[in-house]
């Protein structure tokens, strides 16, 4: 396993270098440059423009800049953004990252859970009403033009029903009085979620050890309840509760939209794998044993069909950048996807390259984790 990991990491590093190079030259090839916007201002004479170009480092030839960029990259410095000159690209990415991560991980999780549930039920009752409707509805939502879905949802829930906030990720009236920044709350929320995950994993491992079903259930349930209560107490006692609640409230609509849009993907994967699993001998045995239908479905069939779903989930996490552009624009959620669009419009090359490189790293890591997880979950696979 270790050998596999080390080999993969070497491969990742090499891939990353090639990727960064290609991305760099691609961005360079774009016509025009950031300083072109000064052309729209008659007060800026050519000499002044040249001065500005020098400040951005654009006066040196492309290859020199490339070498300079790679040198900085090795030091994990992604350069200085043009449109937010002279802020560093890495600090800009870091500023936007928690917002995107929180929204998309939640959305992907919810979407996959929904897909998992629908998929296993649809496969179990293959050809019946549930199967047909779920597939049909899922595909229709899958192929709906996402911006239209977003607009519709905003209109329905925000304007007509008025139960969800319209846009942005916070409500200024709530946040005015404090010195707190949303960044902090996001980070705390992420930390909270992470701790929750770790606790649940530990409790699951403990549950494996224990023999009886009842004991297993108590361990898992109690750890979940305890962590949740502790979290809520922490949040309310430090007074940060309202803020976290505000953010979560604003997240409901985008998550809902994204889930509707993409649940078909995970549902169909689940359904297809289930259909294959259903023919396996152990499922037939379980049925012959007289176990209740639901138990056979959930404990035996679904669990084994889970594998490709989980790996898909991890991989789709790697694509938070691309998927985000439309959602973030429609819901005024200033995250990484939105940053990409803005960087493109203003031709902020360092920021563009930085974002793409960052996504690349994310995707590569996600693949690696997916492969490791696969081996972990399926004892038949050994590297």
């Amino acid at each position: 396993m270790l050998k596999f990991l080390s080999k993969r990491i070497v491969q990742i590093v090499i891939l990353l270098f090639i990727y960064v190079t290609i991305v760099y030259w691609l961005m360079e090839a774009m016509p025009g440059s950031f300083t072109d916007k000064y052309l729209m201002n008659p007060k800026i004479t050519p000499e002044i423009r040249q001065n500005l170009e020098k400040q951005f480092g654009l006066d040196k030839p492309a290859f020199t800049r490339y070498l300079y960029y790679m040198k900085n990259f090795l030091k994990l410095d992604l350069g200085i953004s043009f449109s937010h000159f002279p802020k560093k690209v890495s600090s800009l990415i870091f500023e936007r990252l928690p917002r995107t991560v929180f929204l998309f991980v939640t959305a992907t999780l919810v979407s996959y859970i929904l897909g998992y549930n629908l998929g296993k039920r649809a496969a179990w009752r293959r050809g019946k009403i549930l199967d047909k409707t779920a597939t049909f509805v899922g595909i229709v939502f899958w192929t709906i033009f996402l911006p239209l879905l977003a607009i519709f949802n905003i209109w329905l829930f925000g304007v007509i029903l008025k139960i969800l906030p319209l846009n942005q990720f916070i409500n200024p009236n709530v946040w005015r009085g404090t010195d707190l920044s949303a960044q902090n709350v996001f980070l705390n929320l992420l930390l909270n979620a992470f701790i929750f995950l770790v606790v649940m994993m530990i409790s699951l491992i403990f549950a494996q050890r224990v023999k009886t079903v009842a004991a297993k259930r108590t361990i898992v349930l109690s750890s979940a309840v305890v962590t949740l209560t502790v979290s809520i107490i922490l949040w309310t006692s430090t007074g940060l509760g309202i803020y976290a609640l505000d953010i979560i409230l604003h997240m409901v609509l985008p998550v809902l939209t994204l889930t509707l849009y993409s649940f078909a993907g995970s549902m169909l994967v689940m359904r297809d794998t289930m259909l294959e699993v259903v023919r396996e001998d152990y499922v037939v045995t379980a049925k012959a044993k007289g176990l209740p239908d639901r138990v056979v479905r959930d404990k035996h069939a679904a669990r084994n069909a889970l594998l490709p779903l989980i790996t898909n989930f991890v991989i789709s996490l790697g694509f938070t950048l691309g998927g985000g552009i439309i959602t973030e624009t429609m819901f005024s959620w200033p995250g990484l996807g939105r940053a990409y669009l803005e960087a493109l419009n203003s031709q902020d090359t360092p920021l563009l390259i930085g974002l793409l490189v960052f996504t690349g790293i994310f995707v590569l890591l996600a693949h690696l984790i997916a492969d490791v997880l696969y081996a972990f979950l399926d004892p038949r696979i050994r590297y």
């Binding site: 072109d36 008659p42 007060k43 400040q55 000159f85 916070i170 200024p172 005015r176 005024s332 200033p334």
Partner: protein
């Protein structure tokens, strides 16, 4: 528990809301560091907030954009000392910075001299150089606490009055040590841009309270604002009067303060806080306006037709429409054949029926423009250009015939000559041949694509069709905006015709910038390559004018020359339509060039209506 929270939120918001206005932005400002803002990172959004934070010696008055003293107490006195021109500026003695210190000539002189030094020695770029031109401004001197002397190489309205004397003044006590520190570092400009200015003492009326990145910016009004209760009176005879009952300040200019008043404005501020909410798409901002979350939307492009239709039916939302200071135009590359022939340009101009395009095709969303000074800039606009335009007032057929006649007069021929009968084209023209027998190859028209600007794209396609009908082989290429910019300025001048737009300042010195022959070099503004020594002479006189009436006459002549020669074919522009909630705020006036967003929403004059 939840109800209690909601109650608290409700009470808090009501209390907070009473003297707070919520305004919507469509993009986040970059930085509130003024060096950065007037340097490489200038965006309109940053400008909306920076405007109320800063002040210059002179400023543009409300509504009419009269040139009025702001930090100064009177108009400058111009004398000549040797070969330098000296502008003596008397300053007001009742102005304080937000940290309590008094504003003196030291601050002004320091600012001007430092900006000059940074431009010349360190390459400070951007809009700073638009204010302080190193070719004109020499130095600033302190005479006494409230008198300033500025030295220029020539007397010039453009470079002095509307230039260096309008630059935002910064506090010497706060900035001098910081600038000195920065100059010692390896990259002084970057260090300066990076300074956090949240504790900067300001001369403006609104100070920063909180900036929640990505979500909103909150500013609050200065309780000790020195211009509180100042009254600005504009008289119909052109006179301007500034008085302040608290300090006894009084200034009158441009005539006698008698007769009928056009408008009287009393400065507040009347509100305590402004929250600028950042939305990332227009639908969101407008929905917020409809919902009552915000009272006004900042948008330099104005509202779209559909949005206007939507808002027309919403109670308590008022729509206002203003003309803009800008235009969209087509430019001929006069370095190439056949664009170098005046008759060719005039023929194309004759073909373009602006009224049809703006009135019918664009559904009244745009209005025609004829000259290089927009018609909205009333003081500087020469209405004669409308009459000089080829094809003015002609019908469809008459335009085409006129164009054909123009070409024939210049010596053009066709393989197949177009024939017009009445308003119909009986025979399409083909194969245009120039006067020297050279065949006219495809003429490329670069225009932005429908994604960027559907109006220009549509216009380009119509021009293409109209030209093709009489045999002029125009081909419209709808491409990315940056690609056009690249072709024109970086390649350079690799174009036949292109279509872009300008957003202009009030003082029309762009007329010289765009058409003077010395600005025709690579990367410079005279992209058309217009070379006319007569024009150059007049333009130089215009820039050097020190009397505004004289400048105006010269500007009129320049506009007429350009309307005749047509290096630019100015096409149209769109009025800027804005909307605000009448149940939440009240503006003192609604008619102003480029709309209320151009004057930052007049935060010192706007009133909040109690909910």
């Amino acid at each position: 528990m939840k109800k209690f929270l909601v109650l608290i939120l409700f009470v808090a918001s009501v209390v907070a809301f009473s003297q707070t206005v919520n305004w919507a932005f469509l993009e986040e400002p970059i930085s509130l560091n003024i060096w950065d803002y007037l340097g490489p990172n200038s965006t309109v959004w940053t400008g909306y907030i920076m405007g109320p934070r800063t002040a210059g010696l002179y400023a543009y008055g409300d509504v009419r954009f009269d040139y009025i003293p702001n930090l100064a107490s009177d108009l400058p006195e111009i004398t000549q000392e040797g070969d330098l021109w000296v502008y003596t500026v008397p300053l007001r003695n009742d102005i304080t910075w937000s940290d309590g210190t008094k504003f003196t000539a030291e601050d002004a002189a320091w600012t001007l001299n430092t900006v000059l030094q940074l431009i010349v020695d360190y390459g400070l770029g951007g809009n700073w150089a638009g204010y302080v031109d190193p070719d004109y401004f020499v130095k600033a001197e302190v005479v006494d606490d409230y008198t300033l002397k500025c030295y220029f190489t020539a007397a010039s309205l453009a470079k002095a009055n509307f230039g260096a004397l309008m630059v935002p003044i910064l506090q010497k006590k706060y900035w001098a040590p910081k600038i000195e520190e920065a100059l010692k570092t390896g990259n002084p400009l970057q260090t300066i841009y990076n300074y956090d200015t949240s504790d900067e003492p300001l001369l403006g009326s609104f100070l920063l309270k909180k900036w929640e990145k990505g979500a909103f910016i909150e500013t609050y009004a200065r309780p000790d604002y020195y211009d509180r209760d100042q009254v600005l009176t504009l008289y119909k005879n052109g006179a301007v009067e500034i008085t302040n009952p608290n300090t006894g300040e009084k200034w009158v200019g441009y005539g006698e303060a008698t007769g009928e008043k056009e408008i009287e404005l009393t400065t507040g501020p009347y509100i305590e806080n402004i929250i600028y909410r950042i939305y990332l798409n227009r639908t969101a901002a407008i929905t917020a306006l409809i919902n009552g979350d915000v009272s006004f939307i900042f948008n330099s492009l104005g509202l779209q037709k559909g949005e206007i239709d939507q808002l027309k039916n919403v109670a308590n939302v008022k729509l206002i429409s203003n003309s803009v200071n800008g235009f969209r135009y087509m430019c001929f590359n006069m370095r190439r054949f056949p664009m170098n022939l005046k008759e060719f340009r005039q023929a194309i101009a004759a073909l373009v029926d602006r009224e049809f395009l703006t009135g019918r095709v664009l559904g009244g969303q745009a209005f025609p423009q004829y000259g290089v000074v927009p018609s909205g800039n009333v003081f500087w606009y020469n209405p004669n250009v409308e009459k000089i335009a080829p094809g003015a007032g002609m019908s469809y057929g008459e335009r085409r015939q006129f164009a054909i006649d123009l070409l024939k007069k210049a010596g053009f021929r066709w393989v197949v000559e177009p024939k017009i009968e009445g308003d119909a084209i009986v025979r399409k023209g083909r194969g245009l041949i120039g006067p020297d027998g050279q065949r006219v190859e495809e003429v490329e028209l670069l225009a932005p694509g429908p994604g960027y600007d559907p109006m220009r794209a549509t216009m380009a396609l119509y021009i293409e069709r109209w030209a093709n009908e009489i045999g002029i082989p125009v081909k419209a290429n709808l491409v990315d905006f940056n690609y056009i910019v690249d072709r024109i300025w970086n390649e350079p001048f690799n174009f036949d015709m292109y279509m872009l737009g300008w957003s202009l300042g009030y003082y029309p010195d762009h007329v010289s910038d765009f058409f003077h022959s010395k600005r025709a070099g690579v990367g410079d503004w005279n992209a058309a390559g217009y070379q006319n020594p007569e024009f150059d002479k007049l333009a130089d006189e215009f820039l050097a004018a020190s009397n505004i009436e004289e400048a105006r006459k010269l500007s009129f002549k320049l506009q007429e020359m350009l309307a005749e020669d047509l290096p630019y074919l100015v096409l149209f522009d769109t009025p800027v339509t804005e909307a605000y909630r009448t149940d939440q705020i009240e503006f003192p006036y609604e008619k102003t060039l480029s709309g209320l967003q151009y004057v930052d929403g007049v935060p010192t004059l706007v009133k909040a209506l109690a909910k």
